[in-house]
């Protein structure tokens, strides 16, 4: 079956159109937030999206065996970069995440998101034969996962480390573990959270965010009379102001959004939700759901285990970022510094997601027909 024939299916078109629509929404939304912040992020983002689409095209047409051979090296390089960023990285907002490379700042933790997918997919594919060994099957992948997670958390960048952990965990779970192991793992995680809370692994500002989230929106807030409010509250009110069908740009411009930091990155959804309301948001959620469903569909129809796990990894990458970011903006989750895939401003982040899409297309060309 030719690649084109494999590709030319409604599911692929649905996924790709959703991706392009998200890219369009990103540029439109940044154009709006730029009028509030006085910057020109929408131009930069356009450039990144074009570059990302081209990179995705390259990845889509690549020989997957080559990528697989490269994946351990890639993983090692990114881990070294993650270690390097702690030393030579540029500090912005009290955290070292960026390495300056000429005009662009790159964020190695973003590339780890992809790298961990390829690494684990490759690992599970190769180790399938010895799947009986617990050490081989669980401990090694968890170690592969924990190394970058700890490094990223040292920057500190809780959001990205959480994302990497969730993506890795999704792949591990998808590949399958014993029920007992799963239960044990859940118990460990549930015990680890209070311990981490108590012994300072969770930083104070993070605790503050959780507390702010717990007290968010309750009746105490209704008596609010002062102008002192957290960014989570401001974002929530902006979203709420959108109501069913959104407000005009002029209204949104005068809203609390103007004073919201990270409006173009982490809180991009707030600006979108205020302008397009519930309807617009459902549309946006639908786009993400379509991409994730397409990825899972590909995973289900992949010919190879590697392909299936990569597709699941990309699905997890997009879903978890989307879920955590959207949950944070609408007050379902505490504030975590994580971008909305494709819609938030950020070169490395968009590039990562688009490369992931490239992998999905690549997989789609080699899917099995059923």
């Amino acid at each position: 079956m030719s690649a084109w024939k494999s590709l030319n299916r409604p599911s692929t078109w649905l996924g790709l159109v959703s991706v392009l629509l998200l890219c369009g929404i990103a540029i439109e939304n940044l154009t709006f937030t730029d009028t509030l912040t006085g910057m020109t992020y929408h131009r930069t983002q356009t450039i990144w999206i074009v570059l990302g689409l081209m990179a995705a095209g390259v990845v889509a047409s690549m020989d997957v065996a080559f990528v697989r051979k490269l994946s351990p090296t890639l993983y090692q390089v990114v881990v070294v970069l993650l270690a390097a960023v702690l030393v030579v990285g540029r500090e912005i907002n009290y955290s070292r995440r960026w390495i300056e490379l000429g005009p662009a700042n790159i964020q190695p933790s973003e590339f780890m998101k992809l790298s961990i997918i390829l690494m684990l997919a490759d690992y599970f594919d190769r180790k399938r034969a010895n799947s009986a060994s617990l050490a081989r099957h669980l401990l090694a992948p968890v170690a592969l996962m924990m190394l970058p997670v700890v490094l990223i958390n040292l920057e500190p960048d809780l959001g990205t480390s959480l994302c990497v952990a969730l993506v890795a965990a999704s792949i591990i779970l998808y590949d399958g573990i014993h029920g007992r192991t799963l239960m044990a793992g859940l118990v460990v995680v549930m015990l680890a959270v209070p311990v981490a809370w108590e012994f300072g692994v969770i930083r104070n500002y993070q605790k503050g965010r959780v507390e702010a989230w717990l007290s968010l929106d309750e009746e105490a807030v209704a008596d609010k009379r002062s102008a002192q409010s957290s960014q989570a509250e401001q974002a929530l009110w902006a979203v709420g102001s959108g109501k069913f069908s959104g407000r005009s740009d002029g209204d949104a411009r005068s809203s609390v959004l103007r004073h919201l930091p990270f409006l173009h990155t982490d809180f991009a959804l707030a600006a979108y939700a205020e302008r397009f309301g519930l309807l617009g948001c459902f549309f946006l959620f639908g786009l993400y759901a379509a991409i994730v469903a397409w990825a899972l569909h590909l995973a289900d129809h992949a010919q190879e285990r590697f392909d299936a796990l990569v597709a699941v990894g990309v699905a997890a990458l997009i879903f978890w970022q989307f879920f955590i970011n959207a949950g944070m903006v609408i007050g379902l989750l505490p504030v975590v510094g994580l971008t909305l895939p494709l819609v938030s401003y950020g070169g490395s982040s968009s590039l990562t997601v688009l490369l992931g899409i490239g992998f999905l297309v690549n997989i789609a060309t080699r899917r099995k027909s059923r």
């Binding site: 697989r68 399938r128 998808y174 102008a227 709420g240 995973a299 879920f323």
Partner: protein
């Protein structure tokens, strides 16, 4: 090497996992959707309201400070709008600092030193969480002249320009190739369309293209000129606002500045403002509405009436810009719910000061270095004039920009901040009025009792000299007062004793506060106990003799003397002296202060009548010491005084003046002189005003103080006879705003010998008529030209017959309004 997923149990397992993953995604999206529905639909209205609340903020509404006005309503202290430029230091990236400094330098009139200071300030490491906005300029030029507070006029419709790219700022190119600001030659820059003034670093441009980077030029029209001092300014506020897009770290904040349009005229009465200190704030505690950026009155009425003037701050609800019409209703409700509280403006104060007379006093004092004039309304003790010299510009002290003056150090040597009208000095012969009253009341002498003056009196093994070493011969009390014979009063001091002198001094209001609203000295009336406590060797009977003539340790303030003279000249009741006529609400309703009763001195009418008769004689009879104060328009009565007060200059002042030998000599010579006093009232029947003149180290009372009093009295009666037009309140008279620098010529009084025949009648010199204004050096010392005594007696009366008071005859100062 890939392992295909065969139709094994793996594929089925994976398919199950896939279903599960899809379920997770569906549940997740449904969760988000449910939450979103809650937020946007169920709670949408509420959050919209919260968002609206977020747009309004409750801020302090500062109450406008009350004005201070003259008796006729002329505003002496007012509030003007000012602007300050702040840099939000937490937004400044280090790499932007040179750019910011460069831009500000091109927009504001900044020197290299100021720019470097700014860069240093910005580079100073500060904990990012403790950063505060950095105030670059506190009084940006916009509406008022920074030097004299006149309303600025837009003079030029010419364009200035600034390059939107490099931030350079260009003045319009003058036709003549010379800098209009400092007249220096301009040098061409770039391709020749631009010019540069090397001395003031301004750039000039004719055209629309920046000669440095060939980008377009934006233009504006904001050249302002001060109608009074004729300086040119750029409207810094307009220029900055037009350029704020290039300086996202900067903001222009509106501010209120206290302003004193008459500057030096009544500076001591008005006082000035200063920032409240952290310590004071702590002392005030939480209840105070003051903050660190607030100013409080630091002296004079500003301080005495600080709370009254300040008013009560309110709370104001501010709405952030933007928002659609449909929200306005909601916002109104919101604002109402937030209960804004309007500020209660401070009350304005209507003082009793007669500005025109105050100005006359200032002009009359033009030749003296230091001193004070107090004029009281004889009917009620209201202060018509309180002038102290040298003065200060309260605008400067309240934080305005002023031109640098190298003479300021010298002026500082004469204590410009001290209000000499309420500072205690030895009163000398003026105090003989107290001694005479005591002697008559106690009955130690009768008016006809005579003593012989042979020029000195032996007492306790010491010789007490009369100022007239030749002696006055046989005199009675009336003649002794008229001629100010010291010997007669030594006898009285001996007869009365120190404690009885003290009793009458206290009765006449010395040694106690007069109760005026501003802070004042108490003075000192020594008694035996005081000498016992404060002087080595304790009391010595000779002290009573010195005290009887107002020397040695007795000190009084000019205001105390004026108050006593009001009582003497009228019915023997010490009035409640006051600077305040009443308080005005902002709508202009004046609530007069209720009249407050005075206190009787407890002197017999006969005593008062005798004193009055003698005081008339001092000025009007042959041999009186104040013949020089005899005006032409009205009868005047009074008493002179010449206090021996030679001093050495304080070392710290000499240190400051060490680079200026002329000023040092002037100061040292000045300190060698006696204090000159004159206290009097006019007219002699039914007096209207009481005038006290004190000239510190001014020479003799008859020569140097009495003529000043005469000028003030003449100014008063000239006006009360010719109904003078009201003062032009819009433009301060140049004389009123002139700085109080010491006379720069070689000192009229400095050359006077110590033992001058001072109390001899003296004729005013024609030079005394002010022919030049204060800015110019004063006329040569008047009494250097005074001829011999023999000529004096036959000299014609003073030539000033014109009813126009002296200051009005003064020509306009250079630079004054046409």
């Amino acid at each position: 090497m890939s392992v295909p997923l065969g139709p094994s149990h793996d594929a089925q397992r994976f398919h199950g996992h896939n279903r599960f993953a899809l379920a997770v995604v569906v549940v997740g999206v449904m969760l988000l959707g449910a939450r979103l529905t809650l937020v946007q639909v169920v709670r949408g209205e509420r959050y919209e309201r919260f968002a609206a609340i977020e747009r309004v903020a409750k801020v302090r509404a500062q109450a406008p400070r009350g004005l201070i006005k003259g008796a006729d309503g002329t505003v002496l202290a007012r509030n003007i709008e000012s602007h300050r430029l702040e840099l939000l230091t937490n937004r400044i990236k280090p790499e932007r600092i040179p750019e910011i400094a460069k831009t500000l330098r091109s927009l504001l009139d900044m020197t290299d030193a100021e720019r470097d200071g700014l860069i240093a300030d910005l580079n100073r490491p500060v904990d990012p969480r403790k950063r505060r906005p950095l105030v670059v300029r506190r009084d940006l030029v916009s509406t008022h002249c920074p030097y004299d507070s006149s309303q600025l006029e837009l003079v030029s419709e010419t364009n200035y320009g600034f390059c939107t790219t490099c931030g350079r700022y260009y003045e319009p190119l003058p036709k003549r190739r010379a800098c209009p600001f400092d007249q220096k030659k301009l040098l061409a820059v770039g391709d020749g369309s631009g010019f540069h003034c090397a001395s003031c670093d301004r750039e000039f441009l004719d055209g629309d293209v920046c000669p440095h980077d060939h980008h377009n030029i934006a233009h504006g029209k904001h050249i302002l000129r001060c109608p009074l001092c004729r300086r040119s300014f750029n409207d810094e506020v307009a220029v900055l606002r037009a350029n704020l897009h290039r300086l996202p770290e900067a903001r222009v904040v509106a501010d209120i500045q206290r302003e004193y349009p008459y500057r030096y005229l009544a500076s001591h009465v008005l006082g000035f403002m200063g920032f409240v200190s952290r310590k004071e704030l702590e002392a005030l505690g939480q209840t105070s509405q003051l903050g660190l950026n607030d100013k409080v009155g630091r002296s004079g009425l500003e301080r005495a009436l600080d709370v009254t003037l300040r008013g009560t701050d309110g709370e104001q609800v501010l709405v952030r810009k933007g928002g659609a019409e449909e929200q306005a209703r909601d916002l109104d409700e919101l604002i109402a719910a937030m209960q804004p509280k309007p500020a209660v403006p401070g009350l304005s104060v209507r003082t009793t000061l007669d500005l025109e007379l105050q100005r006359s006093a200032k002009v009359a004092m033009k030749d003296v270095y230091s001193g004070a004039v107090v004029v009281l309304d004889a009917h009620n003790g209201q202060v018509l004039v309180m002038y102290s010299k040298p003065g200060f510009d309260p605008n400067t002290l309240s934080g305005k920009r002023t031109p640098q003056s190298r003479t300021l150090d010298e002026a500082a040597a004469y204590a410009p901040l001290m209000n000499k009208a309420v500072t205690a000095f030895p009163p000398a012969s003026v105090y003989k009025v107290v001694t005479a009253a005591a002697a008559l009341e106690e009955g130690v002498v009768r008016p006809t009792t005579t003593f012989y003056c042979g020029g000195y009196l032996e007492f306790g093994g010491r010789r007490f000299h009369c100022y007239d070493r030749k002696g006055h011969g046989e005199l009675d009390l009336h003649e002794a007062l008229r001629n100010s014979c010291d010997i007669y009063f030594y006898h009285l001091g001996d007869l009365l004793g120190l404690d009885r002198l003290e009793k009458y001094a206290l009765a006449m209001g010395f040694g106690e506060k007069t109760g005026i609203e501003i802070s004042e000295a108490v003075g000192r009336v020594p008694n035996r106990a005081w000498y016992h406590d404060h002087v080595k060797g304790g009391y010595f009977p000779g002290f009573a003799l010195s005290t009887a003539v107002g020397q040695k340790d007795v000190t009084t303030t000019p205001l105390q003397i004026a108050r006593a003279f009001v009582a003497i000249s009228t019915n023997g009741v010490l009035p409640q002296v006051s600077l305040i006529r009443g308080f005005e609400t902002p709508d202009g309703k004046l609530t007069p202060l209720p009249p407050r009763p005075g206190r009787s001195m407890g002197l017999k009418d006969a005593t008062l009548a005798f004193l009055r008769k003698s005081l008339v004689a001092v000025v009007n009879e042959e041999g009186g010491t104040a013949r020089s104060a005899r005006p032409t328009v009205v009868d005047i009565a009074g008493k002179t005084g010449t206090a021996q007060a030679a001093q050495r200059a304080r070392p710290e002042i000499l240190e400051k003046l060490k680079d200026d030998p002329v000023a040092t000599t002037r100061l040292v010579n000045w300190l060698q002189n006696d204090h000159a006093w004159f206290a009097g009232y006019a007219p002699t029947e039914n007096p209207e005003i009481v005038v006290v003149v004190f000239v510190e180290h001014g020479g003799s009372g008859g020569h140097n103080a009495a003529p000043i009093a005469k000028q003030v009295v003449e100014a008063w009666f000239a006006r009360s006879r010719v109904a003078a037009p009201p003062m032009d309140t819009r433009k301060p008279h140049p004389a009123a705003t002139a700085p109080d620098l010491p006379p720069t010529d070689a000192a009229p009084a400095a050359t006077a010998p110590l033992e001058t025949p001072a109390e001899a009648p003296a004729e005013p010199d024609p030079n005394a008529q002010p022919s030049e204004l204060l800015d110019a050096p004063p006329a040569p010392a008047p009494h250097e030209n005074v001829p011999d005594e023999g000529v004096l007696d036959e000299a014609p009366p003073p030539p000033q017959l014109a009813p126009v008071p002296a200051p009005k005859a003064a020509p306009t100062a250079p630079g004054g309004p046409p």
